[in-house]
């Protein structure tokens, strides 16, 4: 199932250095709040926040995921809301991967309602080939093709999150 390595630990480290440098420069004099969506983004957030040279805080969101029984669930719901108020704050949404953009589109609407001073998106991986909801992404680690990836917080059926690198994974679909 696990295929070739797409991004090594060194590759990820270089991306972290670049992204944290950009954030440190762009948000100089600010104390942004980094918001990530559980569960995939926790590893990227942990490394990113240690590399950014700014006073900052973190917060977490969790939403219901679409799945085979989503018809019963109705629409996407917030399972865990922010604990901090973001009104007037500079908010950076930190994502592990953005592909369809559907979840993030919903979350950005939600966050805008909190009236932040600014709102931007930082993602480690951008799989734009699957994009449905158009989203402005200010900070991108890597653009990737239409492949399944795991590791560095990303899972396939809750496996492989612990890998320190990002690898392709071969999925055997049944249809």
């Amino acid at each position: 199932m696990l295929d070739e390595t797409l991004f090594s630990e060194d590759d990820i480290g270089q991306a972290l250095t670049r992204l944290s440098g950009q954030l440190t420069t762009d948000y100089a004099g600010c104390a942004p709040v980094l918001v990530t969506v559980l569960r995939g983004g926790f590893m990227f957030l942990a490394d990113l926040m240690r590399a950014v040279r700014l006073p900052l805080s973190v917060d977490f969101l969790a939403v219901s995921a679409y799945g085979p029984h989503a018809g019963d669930l109705g629409t996407v719901q917030v399972l865990k809301d922010l604990q901090e108020l973001i009104a007037g704050r500079d908010v950076i949404v930190v994502e592990d991967i953005i592909d369809t953009g559907l979840t993030l589109n919903y979350l950005l609407e939600l966050l805008r309602a909190g009236r932040p001073n600014s709102l931007s998106v930082c993602t480690l991986l951008d799989r734009s080939v699957r994009r449905i909801a158009q989203i402005d992404i200010e900070y991108t680690g890597f653009a990737i093709p239409d492949v399944f990836v795991v590791g560095y917080g990303l899972d396939y059926q809750q496996r492989f999150r612990e890998l320190p690198y990002i690898a392709k994974v071969k999925i055997e679909s049944s249809s």
Partner: protein, 112 residues
Amino acid sequence: MPRTNKFSHPSEAVCARILDFYRIPWEYEPTSFPIDWDAKGTIISSFRPDFYLPAQEQYIELTTMSQKLVTKKNRKVRRLRELYPHINIKIFYQRDLKNLLVKYGLCSEEAM
């Protein structure tokens, strides 16, 4: 959003369900774009993308045909882009759709 649409393929119904779940407004085949005319100016070919997402100002065309058979559809989309460069359209091919269905855990449930 009306929910009485008659979809021409199960994959379109799945796509609509996913969009509904994420509260993305959509319209099903709302616009037919003329893409070819005869010498008299009569429309001889049109293209009607499957979905329009008004909030995104984006059309989506799904194709579940095998890759060998999508040439004709690709040509239509290319023609649409030539004639209507302001129109934002995205094609989801069979492989893209399967990947999406796997992502959302629908691959074993929905026939492609």
